[in-house]
């Protein structure tokens, strides 16, 4: 894959804060990701340098909506991470796994919820 098809998005420069926590900032990053895809970029590197921490709300807005258009496998191949902590990656994975279930396997999602609500 040539370098022209790869773009490095520095999250801190895009959302203008070290805290990737607010849903509005997630929306801003999402727009940048969509723009990159529309420009023909095959791989997007989300560079979390200088980001202190993140929330599930942020990823619900920044990356989970991609699952309406692409499969989790495609997203995993096209979106990579750099300079990111283990705890931030864990949040991302939790959000994407749940959102994938919700959008792409609604029956299984419904069953998972029902099982969850039966506990205790």
């Amino acid at each position: 894959m040539g370098n022209n098809n790869i773009i490095n998005l520095k999250v801190h420069d895009i959302i203008k804060t070290e805290y990737a926590v607010a849903p509005e900032d997630g929306d801003i990053l999402f727009q940048e990701i969509i723009r990159a895809f529309s420009q023909g970029k095959n791989m997007i590197i989300l560079n979390f340098e200088a980001i202190t921490r993140a929330t599930t709300l942020f990823f619900n807005h920044a990356t989970a909506p991609l699952l309406k258009e692409f499969s989790l496998e495609v997203i995993s191949n096209r979106i990579k991470f750099e300079n990111v902590t283990k705890s931030t990656m864990l949040l991302y994975l939790k959000v994407m796994t749940l959102a994938d279930l919700k959008f792409n396997c609604p029956e299984e999602y419904k069953k998972t919820l029902e099982e969850e609500l039966k506990i205790e």
């Binding site: 926590v21 849903p23 990111v84 864990l90 994975l93 749940l98 959102a99 609604p106 998972t112």
Partner: protein, 313 residues
């Protein structure tokens, strides 16, 4: 006639001997909220002369009610002796300072200051965590970077929930650090849309406490079926359980609480009066904060991380 009478004279509310982080403590605070909620253009006397203990983090609830009262042009007077320890703690954590009254030096450096945020402030709460909350506790104990990040991220979620789901103009926060027992408490309050109001759009059959319980489950969200969500409160609950901490949520007349042990013992209850907002009350046990343990499920997810990291080779 009744409405006219509500706008004249001084109205007095007496707080009881003790206000603590438990169902009874919240009930007393909700009684005060109910007392105050329809009063306007009046003088309110808040009598603390018989109060010997007031959990400092619960200033967030008191403060939210005071702000609400002042919006309706009420004047508030606190009644207590000068030596009252409760008033002393209110001075140290800057609760009184916010309302234009005295402050005092926090000689033990254990208060986590009373603070009011506006809905528009996306990240000021995070700065508060980094400059006020985390430094207080990390002075006395060793916290791993990972534990600290997860703790702060979970608190970030609570704040962002109050901004988005609660849609509240003001979000009020206060905490207290207890270095001897290595416990830190933090309370986040909003007077916006309650959990019950949000949940009943989807589940009109649920009571206020059932609505809170529903909202803490994995994957449950009041967002539409085309929007992702449903992890914030669940993650926080899991963290508290792992941590052997405590968590209480009060919204409308619903109460939800989780016990300080690892058995996820949840209690639901109802108040006879309603709080038109949400209180999230947290207690973290920092005895073993030098390491963060991931669960089996989390370890399974983390096994995918290497595939997601960019490698230039």
């Amino acid at each position: 006639m009744l409405n006219f009478l509500k706008s004249i004279g001084t109205k007095t509310f007496h707080f009881p001997r003790s206000i603590s982080n438990n169902f009874l403590g919240f009930r007393h605070l909700i009684n005060f909220y109910d007392f105050a909620k329809d009063i306007y253009d009046s003088k309110i006397s808040v009598n603390l002369s018989g109060t010997k203990w007031f959990d400092a983090n619960l200033c967030a609830v008191l403060g939210a009610i005071f702000i609400d009262l002042k919006l309706r042009n009420n004047k508030i007077t606190l009644v207590a002796s000068l030596e009252n320890v409760v008033i002393d703690s209110f001075k140290k954590n800057h609760f009184l300072k916010y309302f234009g009254l005295d402050e005092a030096i926090d000689t033990y450096n254990t208060t986590i200051k009373f603070k009011v945020f506006s809905k528009e402030e996306r990240t000021l709460f995070q700065e508060y965590l980094d400059k006020e909350f985390l430094p207080k506790i990390s002075n006395d104990i060793s916290m791993s970077d990972e534990f600290q990040a997860v703790l702060a991220s979970n608190l970030d979620e609570v704040y962002q929930n109050a901004r988005t789901h609660g849609n509240s103009d003001k979000i009020v926060v206060c905490g207290q650090w207890y270095p001897k027992s290595t416990i830190v408490k933090l309370t986040v309050v909003d007077l916006g849309v309650t959990i019950f109001e949000n949940v009943r759009r989807l589940h009109p059959d649920k009571t206020p406490s059932e609505a809170i319980e529903w909202s803490t489950r994995c994957g449950t969200t009041t967002k539409s079926c085309t929007e992702p969500g449903g992890l914030g409160l669940y993650n926080l609950k899991e963290f508290i359980c792992k941590n052997s901490g405590k968590m209480h949520i009060v919204s409308n007349c619903g109460y939800w609480g989780i016990s300080p042990n690892k058995s996820k013992n949840i209690s639901l209850n109802s108040f006879d009066k309603s709080f038109n907002g949400t209180i999230v009350n947290l207690e973290f046990n920092l005895k073993d904060a030098n390491v963060y343990f991931t669960s089996e499920e989390e370890n399974a997810l983390l096994s995918y991380v290497d595939n997601l990291l960019f490698s230039s080779s």
